[in-house]
């Protein structure tokens, strides 16, 4: 017998590494497509750009599709998390760090040094130039770095969307949801805005508008240049402006009431779309600790306050300069904002005060006070400027939140912090939707009686870092502001415990002392000191 066998004493585990033929072909084809883009970055000037770009994008999509076909369809449908914590790529190994740093680097170049991608004022070169023909075809202009980014982003959602579809082919909720994010990305985020840009002329100029990108996620929607464009573009422009305001004040509340924030965060949104597709292999890396939840609540609401203040300041700064154009003046606008926020706060306080935890109550008071305080200081002081000038606020927000947080950290660090860091800690839209989901919505995740075995799969695979098990093992519904309704907790649960549902408000938030299955007549002791978090 072979006595030289060295058994691996570490507890690291060794998943099988062999790739199937389809996977190998997939890797080859995909790398070929990626290679074309890399060569373009290093300024290889491709002769027939239309052809090479098409070949490249199709190869990337095809490569990823073939790879996932080989990966998933060779096995029966089911949960495909084998080896997730054993493979370096998905368990923060070296390769994960390298990938994270590479994506982060790409974002830094994209946001701050687009010239290295070949963006030039006169004639594009390099990578950007490769995209010129497609850009001309869609919107009539040469490509910008944002066009390159938008295209690659869309390709990523489509290709990894196909992968996700194969991975979860047994789960119709996941399948429909993924078709939905793929559709919204391709049409609303990519093709429609480009075609809209095509309609522009000297006298008619609509701003670039991804209709599903709602303020405050789309923090620049009410910037002066955009509002000017909207107003000067006649009825269509006005309609779009009204749609922009109605999106957040009317459409969003109605849909969130009926379905929870998932209608947006995991069915429509582009950030969510990327997280659910390209980010899916990293969803389990989210931090589940109670301390992370605390941090999340502070951070996301601070960003929300920041975005409200910033937008208010920016809009305020240009109002009434042009009395013909803007019927709203500075004062009525500020009073309007203050009344709206005061009203929202009053409604929460009157109806839902008891459902909020102590620190959430303090937070709510604090934030409302800050906003109202700043608005009134400004209003009464007659000073034209918020403590910082609106432009400073605007550019700080764009830099810190729009670029660094949403892009560089949010996406670049997928392989390290998980796929929803931005959605969880930084997105002001998620904060608004979350507040509503927690307080005024029919959505909840119901738990199935006493069936939970506390295995922890649900918590592990919750991309939002929600400790789902903490609720499930007590038989309580999960009603959490941050839940994006991705449905993965329910999918991976081996005991069929979790169900995403829209139901009546009554009994939506339930606490249980003893789970179903045990006929216990509980103590009527009043001293029940709640031991759980």
């Amino acid at each position: 017998m072979n006595t030289s066998i060295q058994h691996n004493m570490s507890l690291s585990g060794e998943p099988p590494v062999a790739l199937s033929t389809w996977q190998k072909i997939g890797v080859l084809v995909g790398m070929f497509g990626l290679g074309i883009l890399l060569l373009a970055i290093f300024n290889v000037n491709f002769p027939n750009k239309t052809l090479w770009l098409t070949v490249s994008l199709i190869s990337i999509t095809l490569g990823i599709s073939l790879f996932s076909y080989g990966l998933y369809t060779s096995q029966p449908a089911g949960i495909k998390n084998d080896g997730v914590w054993l493979k370096p790529m998905t368990s923060k190994g070296l390769i994960a760090w390298i990938t994270g740093i590479a994506i982060t680097g790409f974002y830094i170049v994209l946001y701050f040094y687009p010239q290295y991608l070949g963006l030039n004022t006169d004639k594009n070169t390099g990578l950007v130039a490769l995209f010129d023909p497609l850009s001309r075809f869609l919107n009539g202009n040469p490509a910008s770095q944002w066009f390159v980014y938008g295209t690659l982003y869309t390709v990523a959602i489509l290709a990894f969307g196909i992968k996700f579809l194969w991975k979860y082919r047994n789960n119709r909720y996941e399948v429909l949801r993924t078709f939905s994010v793929m559709f919204f990305q391709l049409s609303f985020a990519f093709i429609i805005p480009e075609l809209m840009a095509r309609m522009n002329s000297d006298s008619f100029s609509l701003p670039y508008y991804d209709l599903k990108n709602i303020w405050p996620l789309n923090y620049y929607n009410f910037d002066q240049y955009r509002v000017d464009d909207f107003i000067s573009s006649g009825n269509i422009g006005i309609a779009l402006l009204i749609f922009g305001v109605a999106s957040i004040l009317i459409i969003t509340p109605i849909l969130t009431y009926k379905y929870g924030k998932r209608w947006y965060c995991s069915w429509v949104c582009g950030c969510g779309g990327l997280a659910e597709t390209a980010g899916d292999p990293f969803r389990h890396l989210s931090d589940k600790r109670l301390s992370a939840w605390k941090l999340e609540r502070w951070m996301v609401h601070i960003v929300l306050v920041f975005s409200v203040l910033m937008t208010t300041a920016v809009v305020h700064s240009y109002l009434s300069y042009d009395a013909d154009k803007y019927w709203l003046n500075k004062d009525t606008f500020l009073i309007g904002v203050a009344v709206l926020i005061g009203l929202l706060f009053a409604v929460i306080w009157i109806f839902k005060r008891h459902e909020l935890e102590k620190d959430a109550r303090y937070g709510a008071i604090g934030f409302t006070a800050i906003i109202l305080g700043l608005i009134s200081i400004h209003y009464f002081s007659g000073n034209n400027i918020f403590i910082f000038g609106p432009e400073t606020l605007r550019s700080t927000y764009a830099f810190l939140i729009g670029s660094i947080f949403a892009g560089v950290v949010g996406t670049g660090f997928y392989p390290i912090f998980g796929s929803r860091v931005w959605c969880r800690f930084g997105c002001p839209m998620a904060a608004i939707l979350g507040l509503q989901q927690r307080l005024f919505s029919k959505f909840r995740i119901t738990t199935n009686g006493g069936q939970c075995i506390s295995c922890g799969n649900c918590s592990t695979y919750c991309e939002m870092g929600i400790d789902v098990r903490a609720y499930a093992q007590r038989g309580e519904n999960i009603v959490r502001a941050s839940c994006v309704g991705c449905g993965i907790c329910s999918a991976v649960c081996p005991r069929g415990v979790l169900k995403l549902e829209n139901g009546p408000q009554k009994g939506r938030i339930n606490t249980k002392e003893v789970l179903l299955g045990n006929d216990v007549d509980l103590l009527s002791l009043s001293s029940s000191s709640d031991t759980e978090k």
Binding site: G13, G83, L176, I453, S454, T460, V492, K499, G517, T531
Partner: protein, 431 residues
């Protein structure tokens, strides 16, 4: 303030501790030789499969215990001395208690097979077993074939685990169909097929006779009851579990198969209770067995004994039986009693999907038509609804008619209640 000691930090011991803390200010010490913190035994498989890290199997963060004044002690209790209210540990240290809860769980069965104690032969129960498995069967180069002995829930889990590392598995099952001492034939046959679909070499009606050693004392091959020799590098013994009570011998605590307890979970010695896998009910509720080694019953006994210890003396009164499992990709749920063969005064209604691995079986009373239990494969059933229907003794006709109310599948899943209803109307389907 009493000092309550709990032997065992599994689901039953920990549930008792949490509930005692909830209702009282007693000093609580939880003792375990296995792990520092409570973890979910049911999730051990997911660690080997790489779905989770071991830390994910711990339902509470480490600060939880101190914050809730639940003292954790790592150590092996080698002796209980009831006369002195004293525990003696393997390092000879001692601990005094006022009241004691024994929640020491189970241990894997070994039936005296020749070779059962060789190297690379093991059960799957504890954290240590998991670590051992990682050494014994890390990949398919060092473990070219694994043999699993015993076709129960842990056996099939072990098969699934090993298959995630592409290790060839031969699965010896004594019964002539998988788990058919619990599952009716149709369900059992569905699972047989599914096991084979996952490339497991399933050997039904086959028992282990002997495990052969190589010159280093490691398992080299097994001999089956058919006298076939199958070479292997690993043998998993998963032929059930039995109460882990050896350390209580000669303590004066009455033992049978497990620690004997009455309806109040009291042992023969006042102030000493036993719960969970290790307890043997002297007066089991309804049709339940004296020893119930499942997660849920451990939890329920923990909830109950906590009431008694906090001054609300309470009998263990489990409601309708329920359980669940997952066989590779097929989820299984059961509520009430569905026997493998209907009893004399019972009928079964069975529906099975024509192409997918999904089925429903409802057992009901021949005369009253009241439902007695329900099995499902591949369809999630709502515990609350079925529990209510069982209590209200709803008729099979009512249940079929309202079956959609009991569905717990995710949104947009294909619904089958129409097909079920149609098949119910054809009397031939009733067996």
């Amino acid at each position: 303030m009493k000092h309550i000691a709990i032997i065992g930090n599994g689901i039953s011991g920990i549930t008792a501790a949490r509930h005692i803390r909830k209702w009282s200010d007693h000093k609580i010490t939880v003792i375990s030789a296995e792990s520092e913190y409570f973890f979910s035994r049911t999730a051990l498989m997911y660690v080997y499969m790489g779905h989770q890290k071991f830390e994910h199997t711990q339902p509470y963060e480490n600060w939880f215990w101190e914050k809730n004044r639940i003292e954790l002690k790592k150590g092996y209790v080698s002796k209980v001395v009831p006369k002195e209210n004293k525990l003696v540990f393997s390092d000879h240290s001692t601990l005094n208690y006022d009241e004691l809860i024994i929640a020491s769980g189970s241990k894997p069965n070994k039936f005296g097979w020749p070779g059962q104690d060789l190297e690379r032969v093991q059960g799957l129960y504890s954290k240590q077993d998991l670590e051992l498995l990682e050494t014994n069967a890390p990949n398919n180069k060092l473990c070219k074939r694994a043999i699993i002995v015993g076709g129960g829930l842990i056996g099939i889990e072990l098969a699934e685990m090993l298959r995630t590392r592409d290790i060839p598995v031969t699965f010896l099952v004594r019964e002539d169909s998988f788990w058919n001492n619990v599952l009716p034939d149709d369900e059992s046959e569905t699972i047989n097929k599914h096991i084979r679909k996952h490339h497991v070499d399933l050997r039904l009606s086959t028992e282990l006779k002997e495990i052969k050693a190589d010159e280093n004392g490691r398992a080299r091959a097994v001999i089956t009851s058919e006298d076939e020799e199958i070479p292997c590098d690993f043998v998993g013994l998963t032929a059930g579990v039995s109460p882990n009570i050896d350390f209580l011998k000669n303590s004066g605590i009455e033992l049978g198969k497990g620690v004997k307890v009455n309806r109040y979970l009291e042992t023969n010695i006042p102030g000493i209770y036993a719960i969970g896998d290790c307890a043997e009910q002297t007066e089991p509720t309804g049709l339940r067995r004296p020893v119930e080694a499942v997660w849920y019953t451990g939890r329920m006994m923990g909830e109950t004994v906590a009431q008694t210890l906090c001054g609300n003396k309470m009998a263990y009164q489990p409601g309708h039986w329920f359980n669940s499992a997952k066989f590779f990709d097929i989820e299984y749920q059961t509520y009430g009693w569905v026997w493998p063969k209907p009893k004399d005064d019972e009928l079964h209604f069975y529906w099975e999907h024509s192409t997918e691995e999904k089925c429903i079986r409802i057992a009901y009373h021949k005369n009253s038509r009241a439902i007695l239990g329900i099995n499902s494969l591949g369809i999630r059933i709502c515990h609350e609804v079925i529990d209510r229907w069982l209590s209200e003794e709803k008729s099979i006709d009512f249940v079929i008619e309202n079956f959609h109310q009991a569905n717990f599948d995710p949104e947009f899943y294909k619904q089958h209640h129409k097909a079920i209803k149609n098949s119910y109307k054809q009397p031939l389907q009733t067996v």
